[in-house]
């Protein structure tokens, strides 16, 4: 899952990026408010972590701007400002969650997963489609009760498809879901990963819509 991290403190930003990677997130890190706003408007992140005391543009102003521009993605404010008025304002301006520093890494990851899940209308953390169960917290996939070994990329791809079940995702969209900046992406990377998924989970699981992209149907395969 690709998330945006906007944090100006070098030490904390570095730690957050490393920690979130451990929990299976692809992290893009920006260090000022203007860059944060630009990225939020342009990229299809699953979620964003926003510090409030950012240089160039305050986090609260960034939040207000992107919400005005109808950016829907879940945004989590991570800040040292802990007063109730600050929290109320943050949530009212458009944050989906408000976390005061310092935060536990496990908790932050869980909150991000919860935000992403809710944004996709999923009631619980484990995703279940057909006979496939995906556990984002444990980063495990089971088919008919048996564990299936997937690479991190394959897992991310399946996760994206399951979150957007019954919707067609283009190859570009899937690429953006999978890779943070600076990663070399082969032009046929998505095709390769889809191929692997079909091999491991069955050929009819992921359907190809020619000229458009890929889709994972919610309905039972047997019906």
């Amino acid at each position: 899952m690709r998330v945006l991290l906007a944090e100006d403190d070098m030490l904390l930003g570095d730690g957050l990026r490393a920690g979130l990677r451990q929990h299976g997130f692809q992290v893009d890190w920006v260090r000022d408010g203007q860059a944060a706003e630009r990225e939020l408007r342009a990229q299809p992140y699953a979620a964003a972590i926003l510090d409030l005391g950012l240089p160039l543009k305050d986090g609260m102003a960034v939040l207000a701007e992107v919400r005005r521009a109808n950016v829907m993605l879940p945004i989590l404010i991570l800040t040292a400002r802990d007063t109730v008025p600050d929290r109320v304002k943050g949530l009212d301006v458009g944050a989906d969650d408000y976390v005061v520093k310092p935060v536990d890494l496990q908790e932050l990851a869980a909150r991000l997963r919860a935000l992403v899940r809710r944004a996709h209308g999923q009631p619980q953390d484990k995703l279940q489609i057909q006979d496939i169960t995906l556990d984002p917290a444990a980063m495990q996939v089971q088919q008919a009760g048996k564990p299936v070994a997937l690479s991190a990329r394959e897992f991310d791809l399946l996760h994206a498809l399951m979150l957007n079940a019954d919707r067609v995702l283009s190859r570009e969209q899937l690429e953006q879901h999978l890779y943070s900046w600076g990663k070399e992406v082969d032009s046929n990377a998505v095709e390769v990963h889809i191929h692997h998924l079909r091999r491991k989970l069955g050929g009819s699981l992921v359907q190809t819509v020619r000229g458009v992209g890929y889709m994972l149907p919610r309905g039972d395969r047997s019906s």
């Binding site: 030490l11 570095d14 730690g15 490393a18 451990q22 040292a80 400002r81 310092p102 536990d104």
Partner: protein, 449 residues
């Protein structure tokens, strides 16, 4: 020795009653002397008149034989008056209570004179009068005791109402004083009722004008305490806030290290954890320096040469600058003696120079100069770094103010500390754009010793 009672009411009462009694005593003694004088005049004139009547009668009866007059007792007051009539030196007539000899020696007292004499153990007031042909001499006398009893009666009639009035007056004065002091009690009550942490201004209904200065002073005190407490709690809140980020970073890095399988990444996270601890520690040290500065009044100063101090501090920090390939030079001229506390002044210089090194890029030029200027000593630290925007220059020295996005760690307390130390030494700090090097210039101007 304490003679006045502790309560204001008691003191006022004692003063009021003492004054009343003193005035009364004065009135009574004046009345006493006045009444005695008037009474003497009146009764003396009666004596004289009595004598004149006797002479007139004796002149008419001249030639008759001598006889003792056993004057009848006409009234119970009669024994208090007496008379003697002499014809050519012989007693011819006297009242029953008059002695046989003249009441006063006739040779020594002229006609028409009064005298006070002791006769038979009693004091008498006597008057001597002679008839026109000098053969008749009359002495009339009156007991002094009767005069005294009149005076005493007059005095009694004055003193009784006063003695009766005294408790009433005391009560009335007590009530009046108590009523007059009631706003004071009201104020005390209001103060007692207040919540210990309440710093609202006092409002006392119809406080007399004498109490206004005290109430005003109290309210000003409350205002000052409010401001102090607000500054204090703001500082605490700011400090806690500033500590949050390094602690959050430290915690995050430690957690990353725990969960990291890759050895190099784990090592990086652990090093970052230590860096976070160092940063929190530096912040705490600066906070402690500031709070110590806030707590102590005036530092113990001694005469010292600022040039020497600058040289030693720059020598200490130069390796940092050299590591960043910066060039740093000191220009210290002449006698730059100031009065100051050496440890604090070293902290001041270190903070300014450290800032310059930290916020200037590699290959920057830093210049530290100390020189006498218009009878003062000017310390200047300038650099060829990025300098500061005008709006940031204005906020330099605000606690926790930092120019965000500098890419440097910092607490935003360094220049606060500089300003606080400078203020304790009566020195002025100003920041501007360096005209020589183009970066930031920090000036501290001391008065020379």
């Amino acid at each position: 020795m304490k003679i006045m009672p502790a309560s204001l009411q008691g003191r006022l009462l004692i003063v009021v009653i003492s004054v009343v009694m003193a005035v009364w005593t004065l009135i009574v003694s004046m009345t006493w002397f006045d009444a005695r004088h008037e009474l003497d005049e009146l009764l003396d004139s009666h004596l004289a008149q009595g004598a004149a009547l006797l002479i007139a009668q004796q002149t008419r009866e001249a030639g008759e034989e001598e006889h003792d007059l056993d004057s009848p007792v006409l009234h119970r007051y009669a024994p208090k008056v007496a008379f003697q009539v002499f014809h050519e030196g012989h007693l011819t007539m006297r009242s029953a209570n008059a002695p046989g000899s003249p009441m006063i020696p006739l040779e020594t007292h002229h006609s028409g004179s009064f005298a006070s004499v002791a006769i038979g153990g009693q004091m008498w007031r006597v008057f001597v009068a002679q008839g026109g042909d000098r053969d008749v001499t009359v002495i009339v006398g009156e007991q002094m005791a009767s005069r005294m009893s009149i005076l005493r009666a007059v005095l009694r009639s004055m003193l009784w109402p006063m003695i009766l009035a005294l408790p009433l007056l005391t009560g009335a004065a007590w009530w009046a004083v108590s009523r007059g002091l009631s706003p004071l009690r009201g104020l005390a009550h209001t103060l007692m009722q207040r919540h210990p942490r309440s710093l609202q201004p006092l409002e006392v209904d119809d406080a007399p004008s004498e109490m206004q200065p005290a109430i005003k002073a109290l309210n000003e005190l409350f205002d000052r305490i409010t401001a102090l407490m607000a500054a204090d709690s703001r500082f605490t809140a700011d400090a806690a806030h500033e500590l949050r980020t390094p602690i959050a970073a430290t915690r995050m890095q430690a957690q990353v290290a725990l969960g990291e399988a890759d050895e190099a990444a784990r090592r990086h996270a652990l090093e970052a954890t230590i860096a976070g601890c160092d940063r929190a520690n530096r912040l705490i040290e600066q906070l402690l320096t500031l709070s110590r500065l806030d707590a102590s009044a005036a530092p113990d100063t001694s005469r010292l040469n600022l040039s020497d101090l600058v040289r030693s501090v720059v020598a200490e920090l130069a390796p940092l600058a050299l590591r960043k390939q910066q060039s740093i030079e000191v220009a210290a001229e002449g006698d730059c003696a100031v009065n100051g506390e050496p440890t604090l002044l070293a902290v001041l210089i270190r903070n300014i120079v450290d800032n310059a090194i930290r916020y200037s890029p590699s290959d920057a030029i830093l210049k530290v100069s100390v020189m006498p200027q218009d009878g003062q000593i000017a310390l200047r630290v300038e650099d060829s770094g990025p300098g500061m925007l005008d709006k940031h220059l204005q906020r330099v020295g605000d606690r926790f103010f930092r120019v965000l996005g500098s890419g440097q760690e910092g607490s935003g307390l360094g220049l606060s500390i500089v300003q606080r130390i400078a203020a304790a030494h009566g020195a002025k700090v100003s920041c501007s754009r360096s005209t020589n090097l183009g970066g930031l210039a920090v000036d501290v101007v001391f008065s020379s010793a």
